[in-house]
């Protein structure tokens, strides 16, 4: 059974009198422990889908089924509790953290909110999380702006895995990082997936990265699903016009893994 099933998802925005569909009748699913990439040109609706899946915005039509339940039927405390299973990592790790927070507080929040560890136990859990994402524990008391971009994205991943989710949505999570750091973060994500069976909804415009990390890919164009299938198959031989255009525009689609 699939972990996340999205059926006929639609989100419209009204802009200057006319309505545009940012996401238009999109359906796909993600299996446990699988990486599904969402690719497409700018404005094709990738981030909107991410926000819909996380219930940060509400859809106009369609269904989202997560871990066998109707995810859109949840509200209030039930929704907040369920959020432990479904996490997100944002593109800009600086914008995604409260500018006043410390590393420790950012990791303390999920542990506290979901009652995962007692107050006394939390510092130890925070240290374990930092180590799990390849950071040293002396980073804990630092302010978020006092660590590097790569370290920050590792903290974001630590925060996302703190509640032991079954799915993490990564919206351009490696796009802001420079190449060497990007490789390390992708390696960390693959390692986490191998060990903890976490599924990823991996949003990226970089088909090279998609080919390296994703099992399957969904290509979007103007809010609609243009093509989907096995990541290597789609990228090596795209069928849709947008798929061909994206592959042609990709700088160097070599077959190296990160």
């Amino acid at each position: 059974m699939s972990l996340l099933t999205i059926s006929n998802l639609t989100k419209r925005y009204r802009r200057g009198g006319k309505t545009i569909a940012a996401v238009d009748d999109v359906s796909f699913h993600i299996d446990p422990g699988e990486t599904l990439a969402l690719a497409g040109p700018s404005g094709s609706g990738k981030s909107t889908i991410a926000r819909l899946v996380l219930r940060l915005i509400e859809s106009d039509a369609g269904r989202i089924e997560f871990e066998g339940n109707d995810f859109l039927a949840l509200g209030g405390a039930a929704l907040r509790a369920r959020r432990a299973r479904l996490q997100m990592v944002f593109q800009d790790p600086l914008a995604a953290f409260n500018p006043r927070a410390t590393v420790a507080r950012m990791l303390d929040d999920p542990l506290r909110i979901h009652g995962i560890a007692s107050r006394a136990e939390r510092p130890r859990r925070i240290a374990a999380l930092l180590e799990r994402v390849g950071l040293t524990t002396d980073l804990a008391p630092r302010a978020i702006h006092e660590i590097s971009g790569g370290q920050r994205q590792r903290v974001a991943i630590a925060r996302a895995i703190a509640t032991k989710p079954s799915l993490i949505v990564l919206d351009e999570a490696v796009s802001a990082l420079d190449v060497s750091v990007r490789g390390q973060i992708l390696e960390l994500l693959l390692d986490l997936q191998r060990q903890e069976q976490i599924a990823y909804l991996f949003i990226s415009h970089d088909l090279g990265v998609v080919r390296a990390i994703a099992h399957r890919v969904v290509l979007l164009e103007a809010g609609q699903l243009a093509e989907s299938g096995d990541a290597h198959a789609v990228i090596d031989a795209p069928q849709s016009a947008i798929g061909k255009a994206l592959v042609a525009a990709a700088p160097r689609l070599n077959r190296t893994r990160p």
């Binding site: 926000r51 944002f90 800009d92 995604a96």
Partner: protein, 276 residues
């Protein structure tokens, strides 16, 4: 350069700090230097200043020590000014944060209430409130806060409207944080700087409003206030003008000091934010 040194590098800030320090020293030392009731008779009535060195600023119509009254008045001015401003800032930030963060109906209702308060001149509001409820220190504080919380509320709301779209708010929602915790732990602290930048103007206005209320006889009757002293002196303005002039100067210097120091702080933090 450390923030303190940068703060003290502007002449306005230095002047403001000196004035404020003097005011605070006066307020704190009032009961040490002038123990006992400042409203008790201390000597002959209407003694001019600089005649008798045990009563350096002379006495008023009833023979009360003007210097003692001035010191105790500093205490009232400062206490009322700070308390009213703190209340206005606290209420304003909370209302503004709730309105901006909740949006929809909550926003609509809270902003209509804010409008309603803002259309009534704040001094009239304070006047009406004290007349109805009766003068006491706490009531005066509430009366002043009643007319001043709307400014901070609007500024806080505007700031919150931009902050609530930030990724870190989405991130807090995504980890399942309660909306009230998001509003008050994630959003409010980051919306505070522009709100706090208004505090010097609000404190200065509150001190003036308190003086005006006291001048009209609506201050706490059990406390010496500068406004009350000016009103007292008015009856003998021709023969003993110093009775109104002395507390008047104290009032002007205080408001000036608060304002200048506040400007200095705003400037220092603006520079720091600009540099980083």
């Amino acid at each position: 350069m450390s923030p303190v040194r940068r703060f003290l590098s502007t002449p306005e800030a230095v002047a403001g700090t000196i004035l404020l320090t003097a005011l605070i020293a006066m307020a704190l030392s009032a009961s040490l230097l002038f123990p006992g009731d400042p409203q008790a008779i201390a000597g002959p009535a209407l003694l001019p200043p600089f005649q008798d060195w045990s009563l350096p600023l002379g006495t008023d119509r009833l023979g009360r020590d003007v210097l003692a009254e001035l010191f105790h008045g500093a205490r009232t001015s400062l206490a009322v000014g700070l308390a009213a401003a703190a209340a206005a800032l606290a209420v304003g930030s909370v209302v503004g944060t709730l309105a901006g963060f909740a949006g929809g109906l909550v926003d609509e209702v809270l902003m209509r209430i804010t409008d309603a308060f803002q259309t009534v001149p704040s001094f009239l509001l304070a006047l009406a409130f004290v007349s109805v409820v009766g003068p006491s220190l706490g009531i005066v504080v509430i009366a002043i806060a009643l007319g001043t919380w709307t400014g901070p509320a609007r500024v806080a709301r505007a700031e919150v409207l931009s902050i609530r779209e930030r990724d870190y708010v989405a991130s807090a929602r995504a980890i399942g944080m309660h909306p009230l915790a998001i509003a008050f732990r994630e959003v409010l602290p980051n919306a505070l700087p522009p709100v706090l930048a208004m505090s010097s103007v609000i404190v200065a206005a509150a001190i003036l409003t308190e003086a005006a209320l006291s001048f009209l006889g609506l201050g706490d009757p059990n406390r010496v206030t500068w406004g009350g002293m000016i009103a007292e002196g008015r009856a003998v303005l021709r023969t003993a003008p110093f009775l109104s002039i002395v507390p008047g100067i104290a009032l002007v210097l205080t408001v000036l000091g608060v304002y200048l120091a506040g400007e200095g702080i705003v400037e220092t933090t603006a520079v720091r934010r600009g540099l980083s």
